[in-house]
Structures are given as structure tokens and as C-alpha cells.
């Protein structure tokens, strides 16, 4: 039958301007000016903490009592703390941890969320209600108290296993990720429930596709847009969660100056050294704001029907 053309061709004009979904997404993302600016801001921040140490090779624990609580100067662009330690160097070093926590915790939350959501979304019987009950249960957990509780109880054990920095890092990432997967799971499940009834999925099913093929080729790729948006928001939520823990004095120890820890140390010197709180606070704010704007831009780009 190859090559035999039938007598009823389409009289409609063939489509114009080919555009792949990827390029289309980028075009729409570019229209969100704040999101585009945020990409630049975030890039500067990330580069700053990654290579900043090379540009500003000052030790973070260089105690100098002659330079206690100084405001910004050429020697110390971001000023110093009560031990005369250079704040810029401390922010560069701590920022690496803050950002790393944000991205790794997001990855943990997304993976758990996608797995739970996908399992619930594809099961037709008991698994779905059970998983959704679990999700709702986790959603109504008081997260911050629980985070604090877990850290309070397990801190010493993990320190023994992974070392001070590693232990706290693993624990904070696991706990934040483990308590923030629910929005992703609900989103993925909702997407799966809609998509699995879509005609193109039924069409593939009637062509003999296995469930695995349906999920991999059709359902997951189409569900991913909103998940990416949710995941971007998770990064900022995790950064805030880590800073909150550190700010309450229950996160990283003083020798790991994450931005939240710096604020915690600074809050009792607010009257004499406001710069000590303002710089790390502004860093957290700028990071979170730019990630949120990028998330918003992605939402516009990936799902043009939703206006949020």
C-alpha cells in the first residue's frame, strides 16, 4: 500500500512555521521579563558562591579582635562579626551550603513525590487511597516542629556517622525533602489521573503499549511541566526551611556559617551591627525571590492556559 495516494487530500493549508515544543517554551519564558532577570540574578549568586572563594580568598575563621563588628569597608566589603571574621568570606562559604541544601532537598522531595504520585495515579484499586491518605497525613503534619524534633533527637547520632558538616547536611536535606514531597505527589497524581484518560494514551494502549511504555513515553513527559514548576518552588522552600532551622539555632553549627546561621548570630547585635544581619538576609531574599520568579516564568512557559 506504500505510495498509493487516495483521492481525498486535505484541502486545508499545510501548517506554517514549524516550532518544536521546546523552542516554543523558551519563547514564552523569555516574555516574562522578571523571570529572565531572575535567571541572571540567580546565576550571579550561584557563580558567586562557587568561584567567589577564588576571587576573595579570605579565611572564614580568621579571628581579628581589632576589627570587631565593623561596617562595610575596602578590607571587609560586607563588614565583620563580633569576632572580627570577614563576613563576605563567611557568606560565600555558607552560601554554598545554603544553596546545596535547597537543590538537594528539592531533588529528594521531587523524587519521592514523583514516585508516590505516579504509583497513586496509575493504581486503580487500594494503593491510590492508601497513598493519598498518607500524603494528606503528611500534609497536616506540623512541619517546622517536626523538623525541629527530628533534628533535636537525631543530631548526635548522625554527627557520629557522617561527621559534623556531613551529618547535619544529610539530616537536614533528608528531613526537609522527606517533609516536603507531598505537593509534588499530589500534583503528579492529579496529572496522571487526567492524562491516563486522555485519548492519546488510550490510543497508545489500544496499539498494544505496556503500562511502562505509557508512563515513560506519554504520561510522565506530559505531566512534567507543572512538576518542574513545583520543584522550582521547592528549592526556595527548602532554602527558607534550612535558614529557619539555622536561625532558630538548631540547624548548622556556628563553624558552618550558612546564611540562616549568620542571621542567628547577628540578631543580638542588631543595634550596633545591622550590616551583619542585612547582608545574609538580603542574600536569602534575593535567592528565594529569583527562584520564585523563575518558577512563575516556567509556569507561564510550560502551561500557557494557567494564569497564576
Amino acid at each position: 500500500m506504500a505510495g498509493s495516494t487516495l483521492a481525498s487530500p486535505s484541502v486545508e493549508a499545510p501548517p506554517r512555521a514549524p516550532a518544536s515544543p521546546g523552542r516554543e517554551t523558551w519563547r514564552r519564558f523569555r516574555r516574562h521579563r522578571l523571570a529572565l532577570a531572575s535567571v541572571a540574578v540567580l546565576a550571579v549568586l550561584v557563580m558567586g558562591v562557587l568561584v567567589g572563594g577564588l576571587v576573595w580568598p579570605v579565611a572564614i575563621d580568621d579571628i581579628d579582635f581589632a576589627a570587631q563588628l565593623q561596617g562595610p569597608s575596602w578590607d571587609h566589603p560586607f563588614g565583620t562579626d563580633d569576632l572580627g571574621q570577614d563576613l563576605l568570606a563567611r557568606m560565600i562559604s555558607g552560601g554554598r551550603i545554603s544553596l546545596a541544601v535547597g537543590f538537594v532537598a528539592m531533588a529528594v522531595a521531587s523524587v519521592i513525590g514523583i514516585v508516590v504520585g505516579a504509583l497513586a495515579g496509575m493504581s486503580r484499586r487500594l494503593l491510590d487511597p492508601a497513598l493519598m491518605w498518607l500524603t494528606d497525613l503528611f500534609l497536616s503534619l506540623p512541619q517546622l516542629p517536626l523538623l525541629l524534633l527530628v533534628i533535636y533527637l537525631f543530631r548526635d547520632t548522625l554527627k557520629a556517622v557522617f561527621g559534623v558538616q556531613g551529618g547535619v547536611f544529610v539530616m537536614i536535606v533528608a528531613v526537609i525533602g522527606g517533609l516536603r514531597w507531598m505537593p509534588v505527589a499530589r500534583l503528579v497524581r492529579a496529572q496522571f489521573l487526567t492524562l491516563r484518560e486522555k485519548e492519546f494514551v488510550e490510543a497508545a494502549r489500544s496499539q498494544g503499549a505496556t503500562t511502562g511504555h505509557l508512563v515513560r513515553r506519554h504520561i510522565l513527559p506530559n505531566a512534567l511541566g507543572p512538576v518542574i514548576v513545583a520543584a522550582s518552588i521547592e528549592v526556595s522552600a527548602a532554602i527558607i526551611a534550612e535558614s529557619t532551622l539555622s536561625f532558630l539555632g538548631l540547624g548548622f553549627p556556628p563553624d558552618i556559617p550558612t546564611w540562616g546561621r549568620l542571621l542567628f548570630d547577628a540578631k543580638d547585635h542588631l543595634d550596633v551591627a545591622p550590616h551583619w544581619a542585612l547582608f545574609p538576609g538580603a542574600a536569602i531574599f534575593l535567592t528565594v525571590l529569583s527562584i520564585n520568579f523563575i518558577g512563575d516564568g516556567l509556569r507561564d512557559a510550560l502551561d500557557p492556559r494557567r494564569v497564576l
Partner: protein, 616 residues
């Protein structure tokens, strides 16, 4: 003609998309006289609905500009102040919309929603307004109006909601009613009731009606004059009878040629292609006769026996089964190679569930489905996946049927790759051949679905279904969502493919006119059961079951000369197939009227209103 109630001159409308203004209405002009019904007819995207919204200035002001002139009762509306405009809306000009399911506010009672306009325009008290609302509900013939006044919209069916919308529109006795596709979302018997209602209310109230529709049958049924809209322009206007008898413009001729007419097939036994008329020149193409494709001598491709599918309804605290939807109830039929069997009926009759049950996309409860003599029901999942290659499905919504992230070439090639029937290169080549076969150029293989129109997408879906060289295609409302002219092309394509490949079609449709055109045999479904089955000519020419008769009588005929007086249509709704959990399906008996034409024997419940309809 007396002074027109509504006079539209050079109406233009532009929308802003992504910062650019695009004109979609390029100067439409028409009049609506007193007590006159004017139909604005056109295909999707022609600008007919935009015109209606522009008249009442309901388009969003930030993203839409309207120009020209709209004079109502001698007053210019486009330059009126917002306050003046509000006094016109809902008072002297009222509007009803296409989607009855979404046109009512779900959190307010229907009584209040009807009363709202009366409170606004007549200054009535809430109680006086609700008393008037009750009178209006009676007027639009809603049963038990008094008790239903304080109910919320979700308790009403689509047809009933559209009645509520009409009551709402009539509240202030408007001089002009704008009806934007008011029956498109409704089943055909309900559509007939609503058209009848609008017509009789128009006579009572002496109002003018501007009726917007894409359905030439509805136009013929209701309009005094017709305005044909095409690509944002009114291409032709005139008395409805003249438009139908002697269309002047090429586009009107192309449109009318593509309209299936119920009853036009009398005396023919084989399906018939639609004539193709060029919409710019009006030249008519050749119309080859369809060959006889049915291989009656062979064993049928598909044999369905006593197929039953039910869904449990769970509710209450512990999710007990409180009812069952008897979606498909002991359905039996067969389809031969090269034959088209149409499964017709209204929404909820179980026709789509039947199609999906045959492919076991939904697991049926009992019954047997033989494909080329092999029982599909007995197959394990792996064998089922292999067997499904021989039966493929085409769906109603061409926009949802294609994965938006997959190029059309990949979509067409996918079935071959899933079943490991070809290498990537071979599959690619085959996909291009298949696209050519359905009338699309092979270069389109790299494009993505969003770049194609509805008709082109449906062609792509057909190509995908053909990739596995199936014996049977289940076409679930495959052409129902398409514009008439596109619909005609796709029907022609399907007929050609049937002749070429000896395909058997199980065609699931509510569109009686298309069914008449393209099927060999017809099965009428009602509440999950087949009430009548037989050769198309017999079922359409000599319908036996009261439901078949009612269904056929309700189909609007695109011929103004055959407009019937339908007054007195019953206001009953389509009944629900939900039964108590302990319900036992009654034993049914059948009678063979003529060779192959079998009718279910009906009980006393059909003797009442339905029989009256048929008599009317």
C-alpha cells in the same frame, strides 16, 4: 420590512495576542426585524460568536477592540456609556449561551439567578422577583417548578439548565434574544425540545431572535432569514429558503454540499461520498460511486454476544455500592469485513462504553467478543496487546488524541515500534507513506500536533490507526467534533480507505445524518441495550421501535421546505441507566421485521408520551 430592531453595520473586532492586534471580524452587517428570527451561520472561527458578544459589548475591553455600528431600537450601542449599556443588557436584549453546564453559577439557587435581572432592572423585591421566577420556570416547562426554585444548578440536567437559562433571559421580556449555539451541547431529542420552546416563546412574547449556530439543520428549522459568515465576513444573506434553494456564493454552496441531509439516502443501499465543492470557485468535483465493499460471505470480523458492562457507584461513609450504571446490557451484533455498522444513540446510552469494552480498554462484566473467531475476553494481557493490533480506535476529540510532545511522524510510527514490527528507519518511512495515504504531505512528519487543524489531526489519527493494518476500526464519534466541510472530507477519506483496505468500521455516533450517509447497517442503543438493529435503509426507512422513531423525528432537517410543526413535543428527559445494586435486568424479546432487521419488543412505558411524539 418595518424598522429593524437591531441593525449591525461594518462590525469589526480585533483581539490582542502577544502584543499584536489581529482583526477577526472584518465588517459584518445585518439587520434583525421585529419578531424575526435571523440565523448567523458559519464554521468554527468564522467570527459568528464574536459578533454576538460584540453586540452586547461583552468582550474583554483590555484585549479586544470593536468598531463599526450597532444600533438597537434606534440607539447606538457601541458608543453608549457603561451605565446605559447595563440598562440594555438583560432588559431589552438578553442572551443565552452554548454550555448550559457552565452558564449557571453553581453556588446560587436558580430562583435567585432568575430573579437577579428582575431586581436589577425592575426594582422588584426579592420575594416578588422569586414569585415571577416561578412563573417563568413554569413557562419554560420545568416540571415541579415550585420545589426546584430553591435548588442549585448541579441538580439539573443539561436540557433543564438550558431551560433555566431561557427563563433567565426572558425575565424582563426582552425585545431581542441573542442565542449563541444554545443547542449544540445538547442531545438531539433535547435539542428539538429547546428549539420548539424558543420558537413558541418567541410567538408568545413577540420578540426577535438572533440565532448563532454552525448547524444548517437548525438554521432550516428555525430561521426566517440567514446570514452566512465566513472568515470574519458576512458572505451571503437572504431569506432562509432562498439561501438553501439557490445559494449564490461559492462558500455557501460548498457548505451546503457538505451538509448531510437525513432522508437523502432513500433508495440507496450503499454509503455515498459527499460531493466536494471548492469554497472559493464553487466548482463541483467528481463524485465517484462507492463500490460494494461488504464481504458478507466470509466469517464476520467482529462477533459480539451478550456483552455487558456495569460500573459500581459507591457512596456513603464506607463506600458501599449504592447503585450500578448498567452502561452496556447484553449487547450482541457482528460486523463483516468491509462493512460499517453504526452504533447510534444519545449521551449515556452506552455506545462509547460498548466500543471501549470490545477493545477491553474497559473491562466488561460478561459476554464474548470474537475477533476473527478468537475470543478477546479470554486473552491474557500480553496476548491481548498483540490482538489489539487488529482492532484500532479513532477518538472524537482530535486535539486530545495526539500526544502534544510527539511529532506526528513519531506518533504514526509509534504503533510499529511498540510492537517491534519495524526498525526505526522503516517505521519512519511507513509513517510518511501513511500520512500521504490520508492526504497529508510526508514533509509534515516533523511537525507537532498544535500546528494542525482539527480535520488534519483526525487524518493523522487515522494514519496512526492504519499503521498496524487493522481489520476493524472503532470510530468513536470520529467526525462529530469537526466542521461540516471538514467532516465531509474525513468521511470521504474513511470510505476510500474502506474500499481500499477492506476495513470493517464500528462507527459510534450521535449524528444521524452522517450515519445514514456512511453506514451499511445501524444499531440503535437506548439505556445500554440495542433496541433496533438492521440494514441502514430498513432502520431509517421503516423505523419500528418508538425510540428510533423519536430519535429520527428529532433530527433537524436542513431543508426549510420540510420544516415541521413540532409543537407539543414532550418535555421528558433522557432517562438514566443507574439502577439499584440488586436490580435484575429484565428478559428481552426480539422480533425480526424483515431480513436482518430486528427490533426489541417494548413494554407499556413506551405507549405514553413517546408514541404521541411520533404521531405529531
Amino acid at each position: 420590512m418595518a424598522d429593524p430592531v437591531l441593525s449591525v453595520r461594518d462590525l469589526t473586532a480585533s483581539f490582542r495576542t502577544e502584543g499584536r492586534w489581529r482583526e477577526v471580524l472584518h465588517g459584518v452587517s445585518f439587520d434583525v426585524g421585529p419578531r424575526e428570527t435571523v440565523a448567523l451561520v458559519g464554521e468554527s472561527g468564522s467570527g459568528k460568536s464574536v459578533s454576538a458578544m460584540a453586540i452586547l459589548r461583552l468582550l474583554p475591553r483590555d484585549s479586544c477592540r470593536v468598531g463599526g455600528s450597532v444600533r438597537f431600537d434606534g440607539r447606538e450601542l457601541l458608543s453608549a456609556s457603561d451605565a446605559e449599556m447595563r440598562r440594555v443588557r438583560g432588559d431589552s436584549v438578553a442572551m443565552i449561551f452554548q454550555e448550559p453546564m457552565t452558564s449557571l453559577n453553581p453556588v446560587l439557587t436558580i430562583g435567585f439567578q432568575i430573579a437577579e435581572a428582575l431586581i436589577q432592572h425592575r426594582g422588584l423585591s426579592r420575594s416578588a422577583a422569586e414569585a415571577e421566577a416561578l412563573r417563568l420556570l413554569d413557562k419554560v416547562r420545568i416540571p415541579a417548578a415550585r420545589t426546584r426554585l430553591h435548588e442549585y444548578p448541579h441538580r439539573f440536567s443539561g436540557g433543564m439548565r438550558q431551560r433555566v437559562m431561557i427563563a433567565m433571559a426572558l425575565a424582563c421580556r426582552p425585545k431581542l434574544l441573542i442565542a449563541d449555539e444554545p443547542t449544540t451541547a445538547l442531545d438531539v431529542t433535547i435539542q428539538a425540545q429547546i428549539l420548539d420552546l424558543i420558537k413558541s416563546l418567541q410567538d408568545d412574547e413577540g420578540m426577535s431572535v438572533l440565532f448563532i449556530t454552525h448547524d444548517m439543520g437548525v438554521v432550516a428549522e428555525i430561521a426566517d432569514r440567514t446570514v452566512v459568515v465566513y472568515r470574519g465576513r458576512a458572505v451571503e444573506a437572504g431569506p432562509t429558503a432562498r439561501i438553501f434553494d439557490a445559494p449564490a456564493e461559492p462558500y455557501t454552496r460548498a457548505l451546503l454540499a457538505a451538509v448531510p441531509r437525513l432522508g437523502a439516502m432513500a433508495g440507496r443501499s450503499r454509503p455515498l461520498r459527499f460531493p466536494v465543492v471548492d469554497r472559493d470557485t464553487g466548482a463541483e468535483g467528481a463524485m465517484p460511486e462507492t463500490p460494494d465493499t461488504v464481504r458478507a460471505a466470509e466469517r464476520p470480523v467482529l462477533e459480539v454476544r451478550d456483552l455487558t458492562t456495569r460500573f459500581d457507584i459507591r457512596s456513603g461513609l464506607f463506600g458501599r455500592v449504592t447503585g450500578r450504571i448498567h452502561a452496556v446490557e447484553r449487547v450482541s451484533f457482528s460486523v463483516a469485513a468491509g462493512e460499517t455498522l453504526a452504533l447510534v444513540g444519545e449521551s449515556g446510552c452506552g455506545k462509547s462504553t460498548t466500543g471501549r469494552s470490545i477493545l477491553r480498554l474497559i473491562e466488561p462484566l460478561s459476554g464474548s467478543v470474537l475477533l476473527d473467531g478468537e475470543d478477546v475476553m479470554a486473552l491474557d494481557p500480553k496476548a491481548l496487546r498483540v490482538r489489539r493490533q487488529r482492532m484500532q480506535m479513532i477518538f472524537q476529540d482530535p486535539f486530545a488524541s495526539l500526544d502534544p510532545r510527539m511529532s506526528v511522524g513519531a506518533a504514526v510510527a509509534e504503533p510499529l515500534l511498540i510492537n517491534r514490527l519495524a526498525t526505526r528507519r522503516e517505521a519512519r518511512q511507513r509513517a510518511e507513506d501513511l500520512l500521504a495515504k490520508v492526504g497529508l504531505s510526508p514533509e509534515t512528519a516533523n511537525r507537532f500536533p498544535h500546528e494542525f487543524s482539527g480535520g488534519q489531526r483526525q487524518r493523522i489519527c487515522i494514519a496512526r490507526a492504519l499503521a498496524l493494518k487493522p481489520r476493524l476500526i472503532v470510530a468513536d464519534e470520529a467526525v462529530s467534533a469537526l466542521d461540516v466541510s471538514v467532516k465531509a472530507q474525513v468521511v470521504n477519506l474513511m470510505l476510500d480507505l474502506q474500499a481500499d483496505m477492506g476495513l470493517a468500521y464500528l462507527m459510534i455516533s450521535h449524528d444521524m445524518a452522517v450515519v445514514e450517509r456512511m453506514s451499511h447497517r445501524v444499531a440503535v442503543m437506548y439505556l445500554g441495550e440495542i433496541v433496533e438493529i438492521g440494514p441502514r435503509a430498513a432502520v431509517f426507512g421503516d423505523p419500528q421501535h418508538p425510540y428510533t422513531r423519536k430519535l429520527l423525528a428529532a433530527v433537524p432537517v436542513p431543508d426549510p421546505a420540510r420544516r415541521r410543526d413540532r409543537h407539543g413535543l414532550a418535555d421528558d428527559e433522557i432517562r438514566s441507566p443507574i439502577r439499584a445494586p440488586d436490580h435484575v435486568a429484565p428478559e428481552r424479546h426480539y422480533r425480526e421485521v424483515s431480513p436482518g432487521h430486528v427490533v426489541q419488543l417494548w413494554g407499556a412505558d413506551w405507549a405514553g408520551p413517546a408514541a404521541r411524539d411520533v404521531a405529531a
